[in-house]
């Protein structure tokens, strides 16, 4: 006769199991998933308290909060996945204010049928990213939607941080004469994702640049505390972000095409697919705008940091009632670089 061990609970089958509606039901199945996956991966004092919220002291200074939802497809790509992307993205949004990111919250919407093996991979990637960045995920939530109503998994992350006194970084602070800097090559992430789409694959692997930038930002602020603007050019690319900053600040910009750092492979992939790299997303780069006299020190600090090795000064803020972003092309003319319209798709024509 077989014996059933007392208190035995069958562990979650991460190898072959799938998300089902009970995982979002609030009952034992959900508790078990949270325990065996999320708690185990993120593991910190707040989560161990097993409350619905996390409590912490906040140091002096202004508090900064940012949130981001992540719906990327495919979920896994060279250089990263939706998990670490969601951690990096929110850490970066917080860091762009000059704040030191402190804590993260993560909400998951899981689609019924999503393989638990993939979920485990995503969560462990998130946990690793949070650990490497020293920004713990202290609270979270999980819901499940019916099959067909989600893309596998959607993740929303919210982050909080504190801005040290004396730091005032904001999109409206650019002034004529300021220099515009970019921390490295553009277009990597968007091309990596696009080239994974069915039927657009290359034999060459192009990697996403997803990274947490708060360490770089800290080094930059140490070298040039009076930085005016910081922003990461995610969706819509460099061009769209520059237009946002120009618009917010109420001035124009002129950049030089030949100064914009680009990975040769990303450039070539754009040629193949008919994409304009100025509009392609980045997930591990930032734009900085500072007074002319601070530019050299800022550039040096960026280049000294592993995430800023290819940093460059690409342009200048000018007085312009239209708030246009203009570019001196390598070809020798000047053209206006507009906001991205619609979504950039590959073309054959």
């Amino acid at each position: 006769m077989s014996e059933v061990r007392k208190g035995y609970i069958r562990p979650v089958d991460f190898k072959h199991g799938h998300v089902d509606m009970t995982h979002g039901g609030g009952g034992r199945a959900m508790a078990q998933l949270i325990d065996e996956l999320f708690m185990k991966a993120f593991d910190n004092t707040w989560l161990r308290q097993a409350n619905d919220q996390a409590a912490f002291d906040v140091g002096a200074g202004r508090m900064v909060m940012a949130t981001d939802s992540h719906v990327v497809s495919p979920l896994f790509f060279p250089g990263g996945d939706i998990g670490c992307l969601s951690v990096h993205g929110t850490i970066n949004d917080v860091a762009m204010s000059g704040a030191v990111p402190l804590y993260l919250a993560a909400g998951f919407i899981l689609e019924e049928g999503f393989p638990l093996a993939d979920l485990k991979r995503v969560v462990e990637s998130m946990a690793a990213a949070a650990r490497d960045a020293n920004v713990p995920v202290v609270t979270g939530d999980t819901k499940v939607v019916e099959k067909g109503k989600g893309d596998g998994v959607f993740i929303t992350t919210t982050g909080v941080g504190v801005v040290p006194a004396g730091i005032d970084i904001s999109g409206d602070r650019a002034r004529p004469g300021d220099r515009i800097l970019v921390s490295g090559t553009i277009g990597d992430h968007g091309v990596a994702i696009m080239s994974l789409r069915e039927n657009l694959t290359f034999e060459t692997t192009i990697r996403s640049d997803t990274a947490a930038l708060h360490g770089l930002v800290a080094a930059m602020i140490a070298a040039a505390p009076r930085i005016h603007c910081l922003r990461d050019p995610t969706r819509g690319g460099l061009a769209t972000t520059l237009n946002e900053l120009a618009s917010q600040s109420g001035y124009g910009m002129v950049i030089a095409e030949k100064r914009i750092p680009m990975n040769g492979q990303v450039e070539a992939a754009c040629e193949f697919l008919g994409l304009d790299p100025l509009y392609v997303a980045n997930e591990g780069k930032l734009i900085a705008i500072c007074a002319a006299e601070d530019a050299d020190a800022l550039l040096a600090a960026m280049r000294a940091h592993p995430l800023g090795r290819d940093a460059a000064i690409i342009g200048e803020v000018i007085d312009d009632p239209h708030h246009f972003v203009q570019m001196d092309t390598s070809f020798g003319g000047r053209r206006v670089v507009d906001w991205l319209t619609g979504e950039q798709l590959p073309r054959i024509c």
Partner: protein, 389 residues
């Protein structure tokens, strides 16, 4: 990138630009049409207009296969995609073209139709092989450059025995479009659209060769210069056209000698002739019915012809009354002449096809050109940027 970067050299551009300025005779107007959408794109993206003297005018032609695809044919494609279990494979260019009732392939996809963007007709064949129980239709568009790849796919489908694969053929022909423009009232009789010469398409010509244009040069007495796609190619072609017009010549010249010969690609042409034949007439968005301007699949390959297989009937759908794409495609009007340009009709919300494709005249003007209508602030930060590094 070899054979790309060298043809984008700014110093050489200035040299050619000064030659054009020297040789274009004052008091004479040079009205040149670049037929091909890729050339429209190059002119816009590299700001070539800035490098031309005021009396050299570029007119955008209808060489954008997406722009000339009629609404009714997109409706047909959407209807195919709506069939249960059918997979529609398409180049990404067609996804956002506005069809009837505000739909598009992109919107149909959002509503659940299985529409897949492909880079190549070979991908459509692979999808058919991987999904033997599902019908797979390849939405074939394009001029003579893109037609041979479709021919290869159809022949392969026969050889591989792929009963679930078929092609919805919308291939169109360049010479017919050029004829249509030159035959239009405004050009031929009224002379209201001065058209002095053509920049011939680059990659179409690698397939068909330079020979087919000889008829136009002769019959209509207008020079044609076939040009590559890079900005230096376009500049050089403009210089060659200016010289021809000054000399009173009307010849076919080839600037794109590194890829185009007089006879073109015999193998590709033979394959196209094997699989396709001329349609008596085909509607072009903006141009109306154009005789002998498009291809259909031959009877021999009828098994792979989606029109035969699914009994597709074409219903012509007129453009929005406010849309001026027709006139713009023929070079009779400019984007700024259209009442809805930039207001109701934008790249986000395109009313007509000239705005959808990034090489359509309206999209090109919206993205690159409309700023010319405004006085730009000319600052010179270059000396500042030289300080660093």
């Amino acid at each position: 990138m070899k054979y790309i970067d060298e043809f984008r050299d700014g110093d050489l551009a200035r040299g050619i630009a000064s030659a054009i300025a020297r040789e274009a005779r004052p008091g004479r107007s040079y009205n040149l049409m670049e037929f091909c959408g890729g050339h429209t794109h190059a002119i816009s993206r590299y700001g070539l207009k800035d490098l031309l003297p005021a009396n050299v005018h570029m007119i955008h032609g209808p060489g954008c296969p997406v722009c000339v695809l009629p609404i009714g044919r997109i409706d047909n494609a959407i209807a195919l995609a709506a069939r249960p279990q059918l997979i529609l494979c398409t180049y990404a260019d067609t996804m956002r073209v506005p069809a009837s009732k505000g739909t598009s392939l992109l919107k149909a996809k959002a509503q659940g139709a299985d529409i897949r963007m492909v880079y190549s007709s070979a991908d459509a064949i692979r999808i058919a092989q991987e999904n033997p129980t599902r019908e797979v239709v390849f939405f074939a568009i394009g001029f003579e450059t893109t037609t041979p790849p479709t021919a290869v796919a159809i022949v392969q489908a026969l050889e591989l025995g792929l009963p679930n694969f078929s092609v919805f053929c919308n291939h169109v022909l360049t010479p017919s479009a050029i004829s249509n423009i030159l035959e239009s009232k405004e050009v031929r009789e009224l002379g209201t659209v001065p058209l002095d010469g053509f920049i011939g398409p680059a990659h179409v010509s690698t397939v068909i060769g330079s020979q087919p244009y000889e008829y136009f040069a002769e019959e209509y007495q207008r020079p044609v210069v076939i040009a590559g796609f890079e900005p230096l190619d376009v500049m050089q072609a403009i210089l060659m056209l200016v010289r021809q017009l000054n000399d009173g010549r009307a010849e076919v010249e080839n600037e794109f000698t590194r890829a185009v010969t007089r006879d073109g690609n015999a193998k590709a042409k033979a394959l196209v002739a094997e699989v396709f034949e001329l349609r008596r007439s085909f509607e072009w968005r903006g141009l109306g019915e154009v005789p002998y301007s498009a291809l259909k699949i031959k009877q021999k390959y009828a098994a792979f012809d989606a029109e035969a297989r699914y009994g597709i009937t074409y219903v012509s759908v007129p453009d929005n009354k406010a849309c001026e794409c027709g006139a713009i495609l023929r070079g009779i009007k400019k984007p700024t002449d259209c009442k809805v340009f930039g207001t109701v009709c934008t790249p986000e919300n395109p009313i007509g096809s000239c705005m959808v494709s990034s090489e359509g005249a309206c999209a090109a003007h919206y993205t690159y050109g409309r700023f010319k209508d405004v006085a730009l602030v000319t600052a010179a930060p270059d000396q500042v940027l030289e300080v660093v590094r």
